[in-house]
Symmetry: C2
Subunit: 191 residues, 2 copies
């Protein structure tokens, strides 16, 4: 059963607002790659924008620079090992990196981009070229042009972690192979 | 008992790596303010840098622009209501905002900055002026020049949420007064 549904763009920021570690994927000239990034962040509500830090050593960065488009996706607790693997191996040294990490890619109609299967949310991004930021800080700014979520994890504009399978929770990377999972919900009185 | 200890700068990024919602505080000409920000992110390891989005409507932004320094601190689960309050009221409209939100400020020797008591970590930041980013994207870049943590929550270069009082966990804001707390630890095999 396909549980992927579009997320309206004004609510796309909510897919990143809780600060998850993400997967960045891109494709150029027939080469696809996926990397992990703990340093991705929402930047604006509407049109939605985001920032992501892409080190000069990564192949994914070159694909982004050449294609001008990429996907930011939110991996799940079930993908912790996959996330760590794609974050620690380079396509340059391990041509079979994606298969070895267990990454399965799929297409989303209308977007020539590699989407990673099994994630909880996907943001199709168009690079806003800012050469100074990219060169000086490895900082990339993009506009979100499409958003989708697995409705078991995110629906009605909100994450549903309280009711969802814990395997769908997001990952928050620290260091040395350690993540924290997204935890309990805490709702404060709005006064 | 004072449980605040310095964090060595090469590990300062770990205070933000899990993507918590933060409090931004700043002081200029005798006026101090504190706001909440879900859009703060590590940018570099060493020297540590970070990004934070500061809307033009906020008083804190003007204080940062005038003083060139600010504090990013990580509030705890126990401070959820405080965090939501300082994020939703402006000093311009509520001169007693900080007292009403229950904010207590303290000084750190050698830094002329307002630190918020009760947080789990503090990053003293020096603005790296980037007028284009600030004007176009509300995006501020800073170097972290000092870092401290409550040793009950972060010690030996790692968060200690597994052993710590749950009230010390970090907050991850979504929308409408809802946060997720930092959850379980998940350690993958590093292969």
């Amino acid at each position: 059963m396909n549980t992927i549904a579009p997320v309206e763009l004004p609510k796309a920021y909510r897919l990143l607002n809780h600060g998850p570690t993400v997967l960045v994927s891109a494709r150029h000239a027939g080469v696809s790659n996926v990397m992990a990034a703990a340093w991705a962040c929402a930047l604006d509500f509407m049109p939605p924008k985001l920032t992501v830090v892409l080190d000069k050593a990564t192949r994914t960065r070159a694909l982004v620079e050449n294609s001008g488009v990429f996907v930011i996706q939110v991996p799940t607790a079930a993908q912790a090992q996959l996330t760590h693997r794609v974050g620690n191996r380079s396509l340059a040294e391990a041509p079979d990196k994606l298969a070895e990490a267990g990454v399965e890619l799929f297409d989303m109609p209308g977007h020539d981009l590699p989407f990673v299967a099994g994630c909880s949310a996907w943001l199709a991004c168009r690079l806003i070229p800012e050469p100074h930021n990219q060169q000086t800080y490895d900082l990339f700014i993009a506009e979100v042009v499409g958003a989708w979520a697995d409705t078991r994890a995110f629906s009605n504009g909100h994450w549903q972690f309280e009711q969802a399978d814990p395997a769908l929770r997001s990952l928050h990377y620290v260091a040395g192979g350690q993540f924290y999972l997204t935890g309990e919900s805490c709702v404060v009185k709005v006064d």
